[in-house]
Point group: C2
Chain length 214, copies 2
DNA sequence: TTTGTATCGGAATGATTGTTCCAAAATAAA
DNA sequence: TTTATTTTGGAACAATCATTCCGATACAAA
């Protein structure tokens, strides 16, 4: 039995135009709650995070959670997209706002090193974690990850190509290959830094990887 | 109330020496069953694999599973160690059995590419998957992963150092740095190949990464 | 105020989780 | 054959899972 909100229909006729009664407003900031969900899924992954965990840490009611975000899977996807958007913005900002290609990549990896060093819970990268946890599996997530890989490698490659065009990088090099290689290295970096967060090791491996630009 | 096998004690005295009654033997090959467990955990991860999954796919009884391997966590650790042992043997064999350093690394990555292309279920690397799923978390797993990282990077580095000593690789290079960088790239490779298994992309990024040896 | 409805806390649901237990069947040695 | 003990299938268990539901409360608009 479904309870249709029939009263609305009558009101529309009664007043002769669309009228809406706005009841109690949301008691929480949707964006803020979503960010807490990001934190939790990021740290524990999809399967190890229970709805009880979320209810306990998000600070909103169980029913409100379902009303606002749908079920667990829907909430995860929203949280994941939120992370991906803000994270790809950051990457673009760090990478393209610099004087030279190499400095841009150094800024990007320095940022990642800082994030690693400051993150005592060793969450790593939400995108990498999701890739290894949810593939094989959810196809809609897989297509997002596929797009993410293409965009990321493409962004890397275009920055390098710009460097080649400016004569900053040797013209014999292939921007696409190097871009994909560095993007892949970035993924490995996010895995390894979960195990060993020693900044000296991280810095020296980054320097070695970036030597392909010389 | 615990049922102690007291009869043994009496028999020992009766016959004057150690005597053992061997009952029904195991109906399954322990190693074979463990390999099936590896397959399942590898594909789905720890949390997404249920004991019911295991009972259904391992072909042995639920009680036998608990008797032989202990609980879920113990079984996972045994499966993980099994994978790690055989996998590190393979890496060592591919890497060190070659005429030159670069050919060794090429063999290693060619093997990984083949594994990727042939694996329609996109399992990736069990070690990488476990790193991203179970850190932060289980500390005993973390120490295994830490050891694995050290051994892997060390193996890479020593092969490179041998190349330097033989004059095959430029003496100005740092074997440890390059070893760690290539090991990290290898991890990233295992992540990215879950998303895009295109062998041409994989080959070109490997060639670019291995150019640090030139 | 009155009214309508969303939020809220928490109970309830049914499925699934990991694990234990038991009686019956099986089998290697005595 | 007898004996001892494991394997086996399946029932049973308590805990947790995601999700739904409900009565009470809160609040914006009328």
């Amino acid at each position: 039995m479904e309870a249709l909100p029939k009263y609305r229909f009558f009101r529309y006729i009664w007043f002769g135009k669309e009228t809406k009664i706005m009841p109690r407003t949301k008691q929480f900031d949707e964006k803020e709650v979503l960010n807490k969900a990001v934190e939790l899924f990021w740290k524990k992954g999809f399967h190890a995070t229970s709805m009880q965990d979320l209810v306990s840490h998000l600070g909103i009611n169980r029913a409100s959670l379902y009303d606002t975000f749908g079920g667990k899977e829907e909430l995860f996807k929203k949280a994941f997209q939120e992370y991906r958007n803000s994270s790809s913005d950051t990457v673009k900002r760090l990478l393209t706002g610099e004087s030279s290609v190499k400095v841009g990549f150094e800024k990007l990896f320095d940022f990642a090193i800082q994030e690693t060093v400051n993150d005592e819970s060793r969450k790593g990268c939400f995108v990498v974690n999701t890739t290894t946890e949810l593939i094989p599996g959810d196809e809609s997530i897989q297509s997002i990850l596929c797009e993410n890989l293409e965009n990321g490698a493409e962004m890397f490659a275009s920055v390098i190509q710009d460097g080649i065009d400016r004569g900053e990088i040797d013209g014999s090099k292939n921007a696409k290959d190097i871009g994909l290689m560095l993007f892949t290295f970035y993924n490995g970096f996010r895995v390894v830094s979960k195990i060993d967060a020693n900044p000296e090791n991280l810095q020296s491996m980054v320097a070695t990887a970036l030597s392909v630009l010389d």
